[in-house]
Symmetry: C2
Subunit: 339 residues, 2 copies
Amino acid sequence: MTDKRKSKNFTSHIRISSAACFGGTLEKEGPCKDYFDGFISDEPNDGETWEKAESDMIEKTVTRLIEKSGVPEKEIGLILGGDLMNQCTSSAYGLEGFDIPYIGLYGACSTFAEGIITGSMYLEADAAISAIASASSHFCTAERQYRFPLSYGAFPQGTSQHTVTGCGAALIEKCDGDEKGVYVKAALPGIVINRGITNAANMGAAMATAAADTIMRHLESQGAALSDYDMVATGDLGKIGLEMAKDIMEKYGFFDKKGVLTDCGTMIYDLEAQDVSCGGSGCGCSAATFCGYIYDKMSKGELKKVLLIGTGAMMSPQSLLQGLSIPAVAHLVEFEAVL
Amino acid sequence: MTDKRKSKNFTSHIRISSAACFGGTLEKEGPCKDYFDGFISDEPNDGETWEKAESDMIEKTVTRLIEKSGVPEKEIGLILGGDLMNQCTSSAYGLEGFDIPYIGLYGACSTFAEGIITGSMYLEADAAISAIASASSHFCTAERQYRFPLSYGAFPQGTSQHTVTGCGAALIEKCDGDEKGVYVKAALPGIVINRGITNAANMGAAMATAAADTIMRHLESQGAALSDYDMVATGDLGKIGLEMAKDIMEKYGFFDKKGVLTDCGTMIYDLEAQDVSCGGSGCGCSAATFCGYIYDKMSKGELKKVLLIGTGAMMSPQSLLQGLSIPAVAHLVEFEAVL
């Protein structure tokens, strides 16, 4: 990015040394169910509020992550977190109990990738030797804030996505480079693109161009093709948005010959069997899918080179009511498993 | 921060090569008025919405910044931005027109310092040679969202602060180190602290402990005293919060012998003559005060060593209604003028 069109290739050895994720009811019934560390109920789990349930889920996930990592909390240099709630309160309250410096992010559903990228920059800059990236969403808090409280019984539209109840958190650490594991190799922050879409039930379409733009810039920058990767996962365009991104890339000559292009929103649910319209969405979707399913497959060597492209729709309910269209951004991280 | 209690001292030469700020009606009448690049009306300036007025102000500020810097837009590697609006839409819409990769931040009133720190990490990591940090707030958008729409005619409480209508943006650039200018020397991201305060009209008190904690950790880390600096500016504790932070530091043996401790919220307004209770607040307060008044004084050599401590109250109107207290964070940047 000295030329901003170029991706940053990390010169430090930055490894995801541990990952953890929690999900909700629907995630527990989905195809990724075996890769979660635990589940919460979609109901407030302590009889209080949905918002507290989301914060509790974040606290549980990061606590589990720290336990799994074996790294003492006081040695963790930084936590980068975000969510969908107004003023990012799920993260502020969920993480306030940790004695770790906190950098709050807002990237909508791109937050997890944004956190991995930004955390890796702090490590590459020698400002810390370890950092946690965390992102969450909760179906009930998001429905109330963005659409209607659940008790209204509103119906989803055909192009809409289902907000994942989930949190994913990963610990990135600087290492010598000879350890086995999942490495953060490169990153490319996205440019905001607004294609004029005003329908909040069609966010995949609003984000497809941003996703395609970032992926193509990365491939050009690295001199690579889609087929050089084992998985190129957007998160979360949903089924229709993913098709649109694919179409855009084909127009520019980037073909998915090996069928590696997929989307976290289509992986976390069974779109045939579960009532989720075009798939999952929300900061927690790509965070949990990466920290659970993808991280597991990479750790076992079943996936070697993976691109994760976090896609965020940066509108608010108010901005749409005021007639504005949806600005979108897509941040890319390149991972490589070394086993 | 390899030990997280330690500040990061930048090894690269990172310079604020340009800064710009816009304000509103009250800022135009305040003691910092001569340091603004321009002003907007507190009324929607195009007859549309307050929210659009805030986005327009951000766009104006960053446009002016790029003009002043002389750096072509396509060479700027990154823009880090944030504001107080739900889903940070003021920044998303205000910055969507720039063809620059975008990292969205949420740090409440600490956002500008968070942006300077995080942007400097991207530069130190060699991911970019230049980056813009931007933060904004608008009295009317914040009043409607956090308190009451203006037309309700609600009265402020004695401990409350007045949200600044303002935006500040700074361009940080890597350089050889022999250029004159204002350098980013060191940084320390803060740890979230929640002291149990539930009154949104007393945010200074909620943030005072976080500010004192970060300042004291920085001084210990650098082996420095308050008197080693020409200005130690929090942003924004307001008058009462600043007194509390001072008291806390004195209890730990950190005395402000030279009277360098001040607050952006008390600098931007005349607390005697203007009806602003305890002073200014909002992301735009420390951003505009730094990018206008402080940057000017440093550029002229009237201030040499300055600490800016961005302080953020990380609650939302909803979290307070749900009975939660205010988590606060304070991020510190150390600047030095080399002339």
